[in-house]
Amino acid sequence: MVVKYIVVFVNNLRYILLFTLIAVSINANQLYAQNQVSFVASAPSAVNLGEVFRISYSVNQKPDQFNGPRIDHFQFNGPMLSTNMSTQIINGKISQSSSYVYNYTLQATQVGVFTIAPAEIRIKGKTYHSNSLKIEVVKSQATNQHTNRSAGQNNPGTSGRQIANKSLFARVELDKKNVFKGEQIIATIKIYSQVNLARFGDIKMPSYSGFWTQEIPTPDQVSLHRENVNGVIYNVGTIKQTVLVPQQTGTLTIEPFELECYINLPRQRPGSFFDDFFNNDFFGTTRTTIKRIKSPEVKVEVKPLPPASQNFNGAVGQLFVTTTVDHMQVKTNDAITYKVIVKGKGNLKLIDLPPIDFPADFEVYDPKTTNNTNASLQGISGSKTFEYLIIPRHPGEYRIPSWKFTYFNPESGKYINRTLPACKITVAKGKDENSTVVSGNLGKEDIRLLGKDIRFIKNDSSRFNTIGKTFYGSALFKGLYLSILLIWILLFVARRIKARRMADTEGLKFRKAFIIAHRQLSRLHARMKKGDEEHLPESLLKIIWKYLGDKLNLDFSVLEPESVKNQLTESGINEDEVNRLISLIEECQFYQYAPGLKKADYNNLINQTNKILSQIDRLMNKTK
């Protein structure tokens, strides 16, 4: 049982120890705080070889005993104690403070970095230690040194008003000198001084042409700290710090920074002790000289960015992008805010977004940009917000497609794409939608129709047709066409047959023409023999006409000698025969109206007719 407890105790020992240690130190601090003992050592951090300087140990309560540190590598004098007491009455409160300072005067004899151990002090029986000191001793080539009050050394080399450039100069320091276009550079303007600076006058800042700039806030008061530059100790102060973003490629030059400095110099007089005593600031017998310093030109190499994709808009740095949409279900004419936030480090103020593909039906207003950046020693960082106001004018389902934001990361030397997601927006029909539509483009005709109502319904119910049934292509339609065609064919064929038959009749008449004529002539002859002589010429003419009509396929009632002549000649009968026929016809016509023809003549006529007709018949049969 007990063993268990012991084991637990041992296991937790380290925690217990830690806890007690913390408690004790807190208590110790509280002790210090209560008694308010502060014991601080101070000394310059860097000195020149051979330089005489002072280190001091200050305590705020009357010490009982002071044990100084062991000082090696330096020649020293001291300690010397100086005390100071003061009483303050502020708003009725009385506060007393005292300081006891132990001073040592040291001279550096060796070059190197040396540590002086803490000093010890005893107050009211308690021992306190100061901090240790680290001093760097440098071999200097500078001839100017801070005047030492206690030693009163003259400074050799300060000739008249001239102060060497080495003892006072300014520099524009850049954290990078070889960058990409758009990459940030921190420029720091510093002055380096080995002289006693009283104040500054005229300042001329470099113009930083070719760069976009933003100041980094620096305190107004320029505080100096000691710095070792190539083995020489200087007092260095930072005048101003700026973020530079190059906007061009190639070699850019930063123009010099110029500053007017007012410097206190001790009077140069071979002096007695009294002069030296009076030659310090306290008695105001120093001279002031003005030196205008100019920083050297600094060159920056700006590389062009590697070939970029289409949607690269000049953003350089390390960036993150997010988008938000405040409403995804709206009615027409409601406003939607589409926000794009670019966060990170880089040339945020110069960034622009690629054009976003909002749906064509949306009215999009130019984005409102808000900059929330600050400049620090790490450059420009923060966020930039773009707010788009979009208004849908028509109902429907729309999509803002996903898009890419491309930026260049100078550290990796690569382009980075950030993809923003698509979002779906549903727009329902709002009220009064029609009113916005009518105000669109109206032509002259359209204006005429504005404000009119539709015409009234129709009442005619007689024209109902079956859906899908048309007359065209219907049976009746095809039937009608077909029947017309058939009837026409029938008629055509019938006509052809008839014509053929007619032609046959014609042929028949042609062939039979002479036979008929001959028969008729014989009958006439017989009649004549019997004694019937009436109308003989007439009958003869009739026979001739009939013959000709049949033979020429003409209506013999309209025949005349002239037309007969033509027809016969056309049919190929020679002129002689034709003339004979004509004279015969004329003879008959003559005897028709002139009686007194004898029997013998009649006979003659009949025979003549027979002969002529038979001749003509033979000829016509030949030519047919």
Partner: protein
């Protein structure tokens, strides 16, 4: 035969009854019921220009513009030259979002189109039959007659009737195709983006809104290629439109 006739007339009587009933609803401004009665006629398989026109009016009164436009266009197929239908259609088109600029057409094709639009397929069919008849008669006389003077007259006559017959036949065919194979449609989706390919991932071309008339060019699966009066064409899903 007579029984068949009786049944046909019986059905049209029923349609007439519905029609008059629907018109009564319309007069009482009860447009919803009017449409229901009109729909019954359609369902029993009958249509007429007047029916579609009245339906268009009812939809217009209910402010359902795309449907109004659709039915006015349907009425116009059956009665292309009706003044009332044209007027109401132009009023309804006022209320559509898209104002498409029609491409200027070759004037001859414009004349041709307005000429064919004078009659519906029935009218042109009858004219073509009559012209064909006259053509045949004229041909007959032409072949028959020997006299030169008459031949000249009948020759011109024959050619003229042949042209008329041909023209009216093609016009009838055109109107027939318009009725049986609709080539036009109305967009019904409130807004739709046309794509360059029959695919959701195609490039967006332009946006169309409801009530716009489009010409159907082609169909692949569920996607239809449409062309507009200003010559632009693109693909949209089948469900976003209704054919005339």
């Amino acid at each position: 035969m007579s029984a068949c006739l009786v049944s046909i007339s019986g059905q049209t009587d029923e349609s007439t009854h519905h029609f008059q009933q629907a018109n009564q609803y319309y007069l009482n401004e009860d447009y919803q019921h009017a449409l229901e009665s009109y729909q019954q006629i359609l369902q029993s398989g009958y249509e007429s220009a007047e029916l579609y026109y009245n339906m268009g009016n009812a939809y217009y009164k209910l402010n359902k513009i795309p449907s109004a436009i659709l039915y006015y266009e349907k009425a116009l197929v059956l009665k292309p030259n009706d003044e009332d239908i044209r007027f109401n259609l132009s009023l309804a088109n006022q209320l559509t979002t898209d104002k498409i600029e029609t491409l200027p057409q070759f004037f001859i094709s414009r004349w041709y189109r307005s000429l064919t639009g004078l009659l519906d397929e029935k009218g042109w069919s009858w004219i073509s039959i009559a012209a064909f008849l006259l053509f045949m008669i004229s041909l007959m006389f032409l072949l028959q007659n020997r006299s030169y003077r008459f031949r000249k007259i009948f020759f011109t006559g024959t050619v003229m009737f042949f042209i008329i017959a041909l023209f009216s036949f093609t016009s009838a065919r055109k109107q027939f195709l318009r009725r049986i194979h609709p080539q036009y449609a109305i967009i019904f989706a409130p807004s739709i983006t046309t794509k360059s390919t029959p695919d959701e991932g195609g490039t967006d071309l332009f946006i169309l809104h409801e009530g716009t008339k489009v010409h159907i060019e082609d169909q692949i699966g569920n996607w239809i290629e449409i062309k507009m009066a200003d010559g632009n064409s693109g693909w949209i899903p089948e469900k976003t439109l209704r054919v005339i």
